[in-house]
């Protein structure tokens, strides 16, 4: 029952099937209706489900989120789109002070089953504010689920699970993988909070998520040439973290490398490494390594390849954990 499709098509199918399955589901965002979204993720959905379920909103992110909160009060399950990662900040207050807290504030009386879709990450040569990775802000915020998707099947199943979940879920879609293809079986369901071991290995654990999952897998293949056997984990859920899956792996490999595009300072890699240290300090045979964006604003497009973690930087970090020759030895 599976079909080959792009991640963009898989997401579109997930939204379509969710709208079909539950009449309380609705979509709201900028340019998602008539245009079908700047990435065409909502293509054809307004035609199919009408303008009151696929809503072209005014240009205001706080309004998009805040309005969704009100809809949730009335029993709807809004799926809000933020057009690009860098535009989520005007909606930050509504996300962290309202969406994340209403269930807690009301002792469980008011549910906030919002899904907030954010295309995120770089690698598409875009202008400023179009290539960011804001996940740390949300993962630090109690009361939110933060998930990433990495391939078309995962995108389909995770999006459906996010929309079905009674918690607010931020779904980060790796925009530079929108056009990557894969098999999708729409009957496969996903669990929102678990990481996936995508490849087992003996020598070191390589943790990634979102756009870097593909890169991590490629790095693992490249590492084979050097006789290094990497275990690759797709974290998927950035909050809550699936610490157990990471810890179980690190206990076996004794080595940990975490990769993401966001700046490293106070980031997901800080948390994954600290958690691993807490969970399995005695098993660590080397200091864990992070391979992340530098602690700088996202640079101009011409430099993004230098900014983004690639296979070589990942392998260099793996080498460090293994005590092999690496770039910093000379430094």
């Amino acid at each position: 029952m599976s079909t080959t499709m792009t991640m963009a098509a898989a997401l579109n199918a997930a939204l379509r099937d969710s709208l079909e399955a539950d009449e309380d589901v609705l979509l709201i965002g900028e340019d998602i209706g008539t245009l079908g979204g700047v990435f065409r993720i909502t293509d054809g959905l307004k035609e199919r489900f009408g303008a009151s379920r696929v809503i072209d909103s005014p240009l205001a992110e706080s309004g998009i989120i805040g309005t969704s909160v009100g809809m949730a009060y009335r029993g709807m399950r809004p799926v809000s789109e933020i057009q690009f990662d860098g535009f989520v900040y005007p909606g930050f207050d509504q996300i962290v002070a309202q969406v994340a807290r209403l269930h807690y504030r009301t002792s469980g009386t008011v549910q906030m089953p919002l899904t907030i879709r954010i295309p995120f990450g770089g690698g598409i040569g875009a202008v400023e504010h179009h290539s960011e990775s804001p996940e740390a802000y949300f993962a630090h915020t109690p009361g939110l689920r933060v998930v990433t998707v990495a391939d078309p099947q995962d995108a389909y199943s995770t999006m459906r699970a996010a929309i079905e979940c009674d918690d607010p879920v931020i779904v980060l879609e790796p925009k530079r993988r929108y056009w990557s293809k894969g098999e999708v079986d729409t009957s496969v369901s996903a669990e929102l909070s678990s990481a996936r071991v995508l490849r087992t290995g003996r020598d070191a654990t390589l943790v990634a998520y979102g756009p870097l999952v593909v890169t991590a897998l490629e790095a693992a293949v490249a590492a084979e040439d050097d006789g290094i056997d990497l275990e690759v984990i797709d974290l998927r859920s950035l909050s809550p973290l699936d610490r157990d899956t990471v810890a179980a792996s690190v206990r076996r490999t004794g080595r940990l490398v975490v990769a993401h595009e966001a700046p490293g300072n106070v980031s997901l890699s800080s948390e994954v490494i600290t958690s691993a240290v807490e969970d399995c300090f005695a098993h660590l045979e080397a200091a864990p390594e992070r391979v992340t964006g530098y602690d700088i604003p996202y640079p101009p497009g011409a430099l993004e390849d230098h900014y983004l973690p690639g296979i070589d930087r990942i392998l260099d970090a793996v080498d460090r954990t293994l005590g092999r020759r690496n770039s910093r030895e000379a430094a």
Binding site: G66, Y73, S107
Partner: protein, 378 residues
């Protein structure tokens, strides 16, 4: 200012020159072509009811201030002076209309049947929300200025999509007019023709800042720039507020889109019990507004209609007594939440990390009281 401007070709605002009112300061009734049609049902019974409501909520408010002074509450935001604005609105709505308010709308909560314990627990610090929003069709107090306006619009859009005639009402202060959210909410409301009433209590201050820091034209003008019709009403005239609210609700329920009411009133007390208003406003201004007391005006009106003030006051006194006694009892009875409950309801679903933190918290607490360890750490 311009040489020959063309006047706006739409009639979006009423009451700009002088706020709409139907009771003069001396309590006499004056005709008002806009509001009169909404006042046909007014009789002595209704007037007495409005008076009693205002008297009781004033007593509740005073009692809460007293409870705060006694250390029973951490904080209280007094509404003294704004009774007519809130009761006028509260007594005009249908039960299933849903309110999204700020923190000072305790008279509205009273209209909504919120019990004393439910009203006080947030201010005592034992909960973050005092009541079940769905049971009372009223969200619990919003502290982030302006944030609730979006919620009302979203709620209204949803009722509209469901084909229901409930409306959403959002209450906020003059200060909230400056927040992006409040303005964006008007954009959304206008754009989607949402059945929502924006109800601004212009009490002349945002903490210490006089209203002209937020707006140097009447607040009721603001919504007109968004295409939302607006009424500026004397917020100390409970009949006028009620009529304006009825008018607006009719308009909204008829599918004509959002409306806005500016109720011009005054906060007679401090911003909260932590505030010292003598630092920013003078006694003369205060005295002027004390004379405009919404209860006094209605009292004079009732007197002119021949009602027995003695009876009325006695009735008010009795009901106030009941309400404040209930408050004292409720405060004393408010349960201190069990420490472990702080881990509840972060998510609606399970969160393994929090389960672990709760376990650790339990063990830590037990370790502090070794003699109880066996019982509590089990």
């Amino acid at each position: 200012m311009l040489t020959t401007p063309s006047a706006p070709d739409h009639d979006l605002v009423a009451g700009l020159d002088k706020p709409l009112h139907v009771l003069r300061e001396d309590g006499t009734r004056r005709p008002d072509p806009i509001l009169d049609p909404l006042l046909r049902d007014v009789d002595l019974e209704l007037l007495r009811g409005l008076y009693l409501d205002m008297a009781v909520v004033r007593a509740i408010d005073d009692e809460a201030v007293a409870l705060q002074r006694q250390g029973e509450l951490g904080l209280w935001p007094p509404l003294r002076g704004q009774e007519a604005a809130q009761i006028g609105l509260g007594r005009s709505l249908q039960e299933t209309d849903f309110l999204f308010t700020s923190y000072r709308e305790n008279a509205l909560a009273w209209c909504r049947g919120v019990s004393p314990g439910e009203m006080l627990s947030v201010w005592r610090g034992t909960t973050l929300s005092g009541w079940d929003p769905f049971a009372h069709h009223m969200a619990t107090p919003q502290v982030i200025i302006g944030a609730q306006t979006h919620h009302a619009v979203g709620y209204a859009m949803a009722t509209q999509a469901q084909g229901k005639d409930d409306i959403a009402v959002t209450c906020f202060g003059d200060g909230a007019l400056s927040q992006g959210d409040t303005n964006e909410a008007m954009v959304f409301a206008a754009s989607f023709h949402a059945p929502v009433l924006f109800f601004c209590q212009n009490n002349h201050y945002a903490i210490s800042e006089p209203v002209d820091v937020q707006a140097n034209v009447p607040i009721a003008l603001r919504p007109t720039g968004f295409g939302i019709p607006s009424l500026r009403v004397d917020g100390n005239d409970v009949l006028a507020v009620r009529a304006a609210s009825l008018l607006a609700a009719q308009h909204i329920r008829a599918g004509k889109g959002p409306m806005f009411i500016e109720a011009v009133t005054y906060r007679l007390g401090p911003h909260t019990t932590s505030d010292d208003p003598t630092r920013y406003r003078d006694e003369k201004e205060l005295e002027r507004w004390r004379r405009r007391c919404p209860l006094g005006r209605l009292e004079r009106h009732l007197e002119q209609l021949g009602a027995s003030l003695e009876e009325l006051r006695a009735d008010a006194e009795r009901r106030s007594q009941e309400a404040t006694t209930a408050m004292q009892e409720a405060v004393a009875a408010l349960p201190s939440p069990a420490p472990e409950t702080m881990f509840d309801n972060v998510l609606a679903t399970e969160h393994p990390g929090l389960l672990r933190q709760r376990e650790q918290f339990r063990a830590f607490t037990a370790s502090l009281a070794p003699e109880q360890t066996e019982g509590s750490a089990a």
